[in-house]
């Protein structure tokens, strides 16, 4: 029988027997075991780890893993109308090329001297993002849209010293889980839900007024809302909040801001959201890239739990460099009870993607894409509205997503989506458990990638499925 080859690991250069021996000798040790003497014998793991037989050759590994991935159906080959916080848009090739540059992909915590390039990209990302959302200061990106919303609310509490916040009832329940966990045992003692008009889905100003008290630190609004509609009363909410001494925080989809007014224009103090739509693949949710941006107000900046980079002059001569500004308890505002958040690794690579994306798109590109999305999503809504038994419960205008009600069909969204799946279509997200009051509803999302043909295909498929 032919002998098995002995293994040398391509990723572990010093595993070569001769190197290992030489290093052991130079270290003055006979066996690597001697180096583990610091771990008590009792705690030593004695048996081999029970793991599958390894695939040492790259060919076998690739075949194996791509075989498993092959069991997935992606939004490339299927027609997807899923949104609800994660969006399918065209990712420019230049974006992928740049973020796959080994230098960016594999950097970490080098200094502003060794990694100036990365710092400059971060500065450029912050500059463009803050302008897009109408704010003035932001830090390194955070985790995702929901935890960013949680941070925005806690900032309101820390700045005002008040313990309660108002949040619309249309915020997604899954987002609320993130926010609630983040606000538990924090500066925030209570989250009050504010109702939205049942016919428009827009926030009910009377309820906002009624719920604003001397304890309200901030009011949070989403625009567009989770259910898709464009909120028109931003200014009114801002005024109500400010008159009450509260702050106004808005969660956005940055993709909409080439055509929609940024929250900075209608009185927001803090803006949060997720920049995944701007040049990041969905990655099954792994593309999430949160942010929190504020105005140039010392008290607010002091509360941003993020690393920040500042441009700086060089000590001598022309030119600029960057410094890292770490969030610190350097201002007295931070010395409040429970005034603690943490920071660290988050989603920097995606912010690089965002920077490249925004640079490619420019102001006109962001306008064009916003318009294309608006037109296509309204076209889709029109097509679906023409299907008998389907209802569009909210006449209010929307950006890329809208709610479709299927009560009239006698079928559940689950059944309809299962049938659509057979036609290689991912139907809109099932809202029936999240918002039972809405009945059998789904959230349909349209992006610039959908052609008129795709939308007609959807309409046709739905007609067939509900028949």
């Amino acid at each position: 029988m032919a002998k098995k080859r002995s293994v040398v690991y391509p990723y572990i250069p010093n595993s070569v027997a001769a190197t290992r021996s030489e290093m052991l000798e130079k270290t003055g040790v006979k066996d690597v075991e001697e180096l583990y003497v610091g771990i008590p014998k009792k705690l030593r793991f004695k048996r081999p780890l029970k793991l599958p037989k390894p695939l040492h050759s790259e060919l076998e590994l690739k075949r194996h893993v791509s075989g498993i991935l092959g069991k997935n159906k992606s939004c490339e080959e299927h027609l997807s109308f899923l949104g609800a916080g994660c969006y399918q848009h065209h990712v420019p090739s230049v974006v992928d090329t740049v973020i796959n540059r080994g230098e960016f992909l594999t950097a970490y915590s080098g200094s502003n001297y060794s990694d100036m390039g990365r710092f400059q990209v971060m500065f450029e990302y912050v500059s463009m993002l803050t302008d897009l959302v109408g704010m003035e200061v932001a830090g390194f990106p955070m985790y995702d849209g929901s935890s960013s919303g949680g941070t925005a609310l806690r900032i309101c509490a820390r700045v005002t010293g008040r313990p309660e916040v108002l949040v619309p009832e249309t915020v997604s329940p899954l987002r609320m889980k993130v926010i609630e966990n983040y606000c538990r045992n924090s500066e925030i003692k209570a989250i009050h839900r504010v109702s939205c008009h049942p016919d428009t889905g827009l926030i009910d100003l009377r309820d906002v007024k009624a719920k604003l008290t001397a304890n309200t630190a901030g009011v949070y609004l989403e625009n567009p809302s989770y259910l898709g509609m464009i909120e028109t009363q931003g200014r009114e909410v801002a005024d109500l909040a400010h008159e009450n001494g509260s702050l106004f925080a808005v969660g956005v989809n940055p993709m909409s801001l080439g055509v929609l007014a940024p929250p900075g224009d209608y009185g927001a103090d803090i803006v949060s959201g997720d920049t995944q739509p701007l040049g990041v693949h969905m990655n099954y949710g792994g593309g999430a890239c949160g942010f929190v941006a504020v105005r140039d107000v010392e008290e607010h900046i002091a509360e941003l739990p993020a690393l920040m980079t500042s441009i700086a002059d060089l000590e001598e001569g022309e030119g600029f460099g960057f410094t890292l500004f770490a969030w610190a308890e350097r201002l007295s505002y931070a010395a409040r009870e429970n005034a603690k958040e943490y920071t660290g690794t988050a989603t920097a690579l995606w912010s690089t993607a965002n920077a490249v994306y925004l640079a490619l798109m420019g102001p006109q590109g962001m306008k064009d894409i916003g318009e294309t999305i608006l037109q296509k999503s309204h076209y889709a809504k029109k097509l679906l509205a023409e299907i008998p038994d389907l209802k569009m419960p909210f006449p209010s205008t929307h950006f890329n997503e809208f709610v479709v009600n299927f009560d009239g069909t006698g079928k559940t969204v689950s059944q309809i989506n299962a049938a659509l799946l057979k036609r290689k279509i991912f139907g809109g997200k099932d809202l029936s458990e999240e918002f039972p009051r809405l009945g059998q509803c789904a959230l349909y999302c349209v992006s610039e990638i959908h052609t008129a043909k795709d939308l007609k295909k959807l309409a046709r498929a739905l007609k067939e499925v509900i028949a």
Binding site: V98, Y113, F123, G317, T323, G344, L358, G365, Y379, T451
Partner: protein
């Protein structure tokens, strides 16, 4: 004993690249977007009219206008001014476990069946993704000895935050939520081990090291009480010492009813050698973007996989990946769950890379990873202790694991050259700036290298040679080190601004304003 390598005649790429916004040329376009088809336009009209008048964006965002080649060139140049692992010897970036991220894993991540999956797709359409998540879960269960895994956290910090939330939920469920308001950690544990419990409202009590550098056991006794909710401890700590009394620590905290969590950012040297569960810990985490090779991304995205014992599994965030027969699924129906810590399931592409990396190595390979990491570190230790001015802190004569915190204290006292000066000078040799230390700098003039498993003997020799060279310069021509960098990406930056936020300039807009005022 030390190997001398030839020092590189390195010079960094200095592009003197302007800010993106300064390269804007009116009218240029980087990419075009499809227009809606005629039938669409005819059906719905002008896009502007679809927006309520008070919500139309009036002023264009201040984004640059650039043609595509110019955008590519700008960012490519900036990448050449970044010393990633792919290009530079980053042994110095300790506690971060810089290692090779296999490119085959990047190819796998680029497949549409990974990159173009939507997190809310029907489970039947993502069986491959769920299979990978489930199998990786099993790998980490075996490696940690724990019973259930959560991949939702994006980072080590978020994993520790999740663990903190679980501690809170656990005690609350027992009716002791109010009583147990303190968490204990140690000085050399990672800062998030203090900051995250504080984020969920705990009072944090830090133990100082004893004279040997281990967490002080007597101090633990003094800190424990019926108010103790948990112990959050990094082991081995950043100074590379495995706490020999760790089991006693855990037993003692358990005896007063507290939970024990271990931060395993420093797991690289102990894979397959010691397991958190066997020590008695209730929870632990792994940084998949450190130990398990997913690329660091310049500060993320990563994954802090949280591993817990059975009795805490019910508190984990939703959804949890399940398997029934041959079918994989996502379980959202967990009434005791703390809810969620972030959107969706986590960074799936990071889990994919972890799966592939472990599959390429197997049990023996993981053992090799740990052993080589420890051997590399000890080999480097010999070289560095021979460098004038370098000392080690604590643990005299003790064997270290994957990393060590050294001090330039002696050299600084002798010459006035500081660790920060060295940090700048080393980049002149093409070496990535090293990691000094987490705060606070208990050990003066610190630096913490970590020569992980994918660094070669030649890399290590080169790194030590550079340190030796800089030490020599410090003693013979200190000004050269103090005025570094000389061949780096940038010249000395005026860092006085970073102390006062009002002097910081965070955006281009402000920069232009400040410069205009200066004139």
């Amino acid at each position: 004993m030390s190997e001398e390598t030839r020092l590189r005649n390195y010079h960094a790429q200095v592009w003197d690249e302007p800010l993106l916004m300064d390269k804007s040329v009116k009218g240029q376009r980087g990419i075009l977007v499809p227009e809606a088809e005629k039938e669409v336009r005819d059906a719905v009209g002008e896009a502007k009219a679809l927006i309520p008048s008070n919500m139309r964006r009036e002023q264009s965002p201040d984004l640059p206008e650039m043609a595509q080649p110019q955008v590519l060139r700008h960012f490519t140049r900036l990448s050449q001014m970044t010393m990633g692992n792919d290009v530079s010897n980053d042994i110095g970036v300790g506690t971060c476990t810089m290692k090779y991220s296999p490119k085959v894993n990047e190819a796998l991540c680029g497949m549409p069946q990974m990159a173009d999956l939507h997190p809310y797709q029907d489970e039947s359409t993502v069986q491959g993704m769920l299979e990978i998540m489930y199998k990786t879960r099993d790998f980490l269960r075996e490696i940690s000895g724990m019973d259930e895994i959560c991949f939702q956290p994006t980072s080590g910090g978020q994993a520790v935050y999740t663990a903190s939330s679980i501690v809170r939920a656990y005690h609350q469920a027992k009716g002791e939520g109010d009583k147990r308001d303190q968490v204990i950690t140690t000085m050399f544990s990672h800062p998030v081990d203090a900051a995250c419990p504080a984020t969920v409202g705990y009072e944090v009590i830090t133990l100082m090291p004893d004279k040997d550098g281990y967490p002080d056991f007597e101090a633990l006794k003094a800190a424990l009480s019926e108010r103790t909710a948990a112990l959050f401890i990094t082991n081995p700590e950043d100074i590379g010492l495995y706490n020999p009394r760790i089991e006693e620590f855990v037993k003692l905290v358990h005896s007063v009813g507290g939970l024990c969590f271990t931060d395993q950012a420093n797991a690289n040297g102990v894979l397959g050698k010691a397991r958190a569960a066997d020590v008695g810990f209730d929870m632990c985490h792994f940084n998949l973007h450190k130990t398990f090779s997913s690329p660091h991304g310049g500060m993320g995205p990563g994954c802090g996989a949280l591993a817990v014992k059975e009795h805490l599994a019910k508190f984990l965030p939703v959804p949890v990946v399940t398997k029934e027969g041959k079918r994989y699924g996502l379980d959202y129906d967990r009434p005791d769950s703390i809810g969620k810590v972030r959107d969706f399931c986590g960074n799936a592409q990071v889990i994919l890379r972890t799966y592939a990396w472990i599959m390429s190595l197997g049990a023996k390979g993981l053992n090799e990873v740990a052993e080589i990491a420890v051997l590399n570190n000890n080999y480097l230790e010999r070289l560095l202790l021979a460098v004038p001015g370098v000392t080690e802190s604590y643990g005299e004569g003790k064997v270290r694991l994957d990393q060590i915190r050294y001090s330039w204290e002696k050299m600084t006292a002798d010459t006035g050259v500081t660790s920060e000066d060295v940090e700048r000078r080393m980049t002149d040799f093409g070496i990535q700036a090293y990691w000094l230390s987490h705060h606070p700098h208990v050990i003066p003039e610190p630096f913490t290298p970590e020569p992980s498993d994918s660094h070669s003997k030649e890399d290590i020799d080169e790194w030590a040679t550079v340190m030796k060279q800089i030490s020599k310069e410090a003693y013979e021509e200190p000004e050269k080190v103090k005025s570094a960098p000389h061949r780096g990406i940038t010249r000395a930056v005026d860092e006085s601004a970073m102390l006062l936020h009002e002097e910081c300039i965070f955006t281009y807009k402000k920069y232009k304003k400040v410069k205009a005022e200066e004139k």
